[in-house]
């Protein structure tokens, strides 16, 4: 039975989640790179929007949510959206058209490969990027999405909780980001020459658009315009705010001044961590999850990254990978049936077994994403070559990959 209120909220939410990729992510990452690479960086988000939109309607949705094969992947039975129409699919969302559920999910499939781009910014060949995200979405995202959210998926059957994509979106992309930046190697001059963000106002605009879009990401994941959507949206906002405050205070204490970029980064870390929990936890719990995300991600980005020396250029792993793991595990502690009867109670509400299930989901997602990403990179490297040559890297990717430049010197 289609409900007009639910349908309009998910229509809006879908558009909000689209906004997260381009302009949100495009501006967030675009401002962080050097001026010679801003267009190529924004292009990566924009291109993901175009390419995965087509992938999804052709076969991505069917692989992710279609009729189950061995609890591992969907079949191609819904190829080209065959049979996905106006009638609701009660397994996924009983009050909105099935086609709208597919559309909402499309926007998640688009942003996920976009998140990875932060790790290999400023040095990946565009053709290799295009091939990489198409293959990655098909053999990494689609299966994990099926395990966690698809009917028959094995993690869903085990009772793993992931409200809006902590494992599916953030851990998968964050871990893949780590593999990518280690595989591609550091940018030329990394650690020797400073590589400051070329336009922080763009980054702040991007972060704020991400925050705004996240209301659709998490609030829309209730798949209805109901109390759960409201609760998820407020948890989301609370988690983001708390993590941003935490990050800024840590900087204040350890570096001497709170920074705008620190606030923006903290907010995104909080948003990531609250994502899997947002529909299962109370508002006070979301404060604590935000606090934990701020602390752990700050430590990962400012201490561990520098110690280990990998060039996760825009902190895709440090924020999305680590933040996603924090959120997925804490969901196992803070989830309560009082908030969402369809969920479960966590450790703090008398059910310690949920932590184990969550940890299993996290571990499997890490292992699968890491191994598959490595294989994809290896194959793409052999066929196309993943990294631009040194000369192109020094001249910048805007001019060498796209024959455009963002800024002129005169005029």
């Amino acid at each position: 039975m289609i409900n007009a209120g639910d349908t309009s909220w998910i229509l809006i939410s879908s558009a909000l989640v689209m906004l997260m990729t381009a302009p949100g992510l495009a501006f967030f990452y675009g401002g962080l790179v050097r001026r010679k690479n801003v267009l190529s960086t924004m292009m990566q988000s924009f291109f993901a929007l175009c390419l995965i939109s087509v992938q999804w309607v052709l076969f991505g949705y069917s692989l992710s949510f279609g009729p189950d094969i061995g609890h591992f992947i969907g079949s191609l039975g819904w190829f080209g959206m065959k049979g996905v129409g106006g009638a609701p699919n009660a397994d996924y969302a009983g009050t909105i058209p099935h086609i709208l559920f597919a559309f909402f999910q499309m926007m998640f499939a688009i942003i996920t490969p976009g998140l990875i781009t932060g790790a290999f910014a400023e040095r990946m060949k565009f053709a290799a990027y295009a091939a990489f995200i198409l293959i990655w979405t098909t053999i990494v995202y689609d299966p994990i999405c099926h395990w966690v959210w698809g009917v028959g998926g094995w993690l869903r059957n085990l009772g793993a909780l992931d409200f809006a994509g902590g494992t599916v979106v953030h851990i998968s992309s964050g871990i893949s980001a780590l593999i990518c930046c280690v595989y591609l190697g550091k940018r030329k001059g990394y650690g020797k020459a400073p590589m400051p963000p070329h336009n922080l106002p763009l980054t702040i605009l991007g972060a704020a658009l991400l925050w705004f879009g996240w209301f659709g990401f998490n609030g829309g994941s209730a798949l209805a315009a109901n109390e759960l959507a409201c609760s998820a949206m407020i948890s989301t906002n609370t988690g983001a705010a708390m993590a941003a405050l935490t990050w800024m205070f840590l900087e204040w204490k350890f570096i001497g001044k709170p920074t705008v970029l620190g606030g923006a980064t903290g907010a995104v870390a909080g948003l990531v961590a609250i994502t899997p929990a947002s529909g299962f936890v109370s508002i006070p719990s979301s404060l604590l999850i935000g606090l934990a995300a701020g602390l752990v991600c700050y430590f990962a980005v400012s201490v561990i990254k520098l110690k280990l020396g990998y060039d996760d250029s825009l902190d895709a792993f440090g924020v999305h990978g680590i933040g996603g793991i924090v959120g997925a595990l804490l969901t196992g502690f803070f989830a309560e049936k009082l908030i969402n009867p369809a969920g479960n109670n966590g450790l703090f509400f008398g059910n310690p077994s949920l932590v184990g299930v969550q940890a299993l989901g996290v571990a499997v997602t890490i292992a699968y994403s890491a191994i598959m990403t490595f294989i994809i990179l290896k194959v793409v490297d052999m066929v196309i070559g993943v990294r631009v040559n040194q000369e192109e890297e020094v001249s910048g990717l805007d001019i060498t990959q796209h024959e455009e430049s963002a800024y002129t010197l005169l005029d």
């Binding site: 020459a193 001249s395 024959e403 430049s405 010197l409």
Partner: protein, 113 residues
């Protein structure tokens, strides 16, 4: 005293700065400039239309040195900025009449280093 002005490829800047540091030449001014030499312009494409730019992005270094440092400076820049391709740039050297350090009012060779 000499004023050495070098116009180099932007991508050579890092190596040139490193080479100058090795020669203990630390004081310099660096600016983004546009210039036109014998190198062909680069193309950019906007909505399918190719535009050939005649003026290319270059980096300019201005370095004031005492006479005994002039050769080392020129050699360091030449070595670090040379690829052998057209467009590597040029170095101009002129006699420097005066030099004043604003903070102290010192003049001449002591004001340079």
């Amino acid at each position: 005293m000499k004023l050495i002005t070098a116009i180099i490829q932007p991508e050579a800047l890092e190596d040139v700065l490193e080479a100058l540091d090795e020669e203990k030449i630390h004081l310099k001014t660096v600016s983004n400039v546009l210039g036109c030499g014998r190198q062909k312009g680069h193309t950019e494409v906007y909505r399918g239309r190719k535009e050939v730019g005649n003026l290319l992005k270059k980096v300019r270094l201005d370095i004031a040195v005492n006479d005994n440092f002039a050769d080392a400076t020129i050699k360091a820049i030449t070595k670090a900025a040379r690829t052998g391709n057209i467009g590597d740039g040029k170095i101009f050297v002129v006699d420097l009449e005066a030099c004043v350090r604003i903070r102290t009012g010192e003049t001449g060779p002591t004001a340079i280093g």
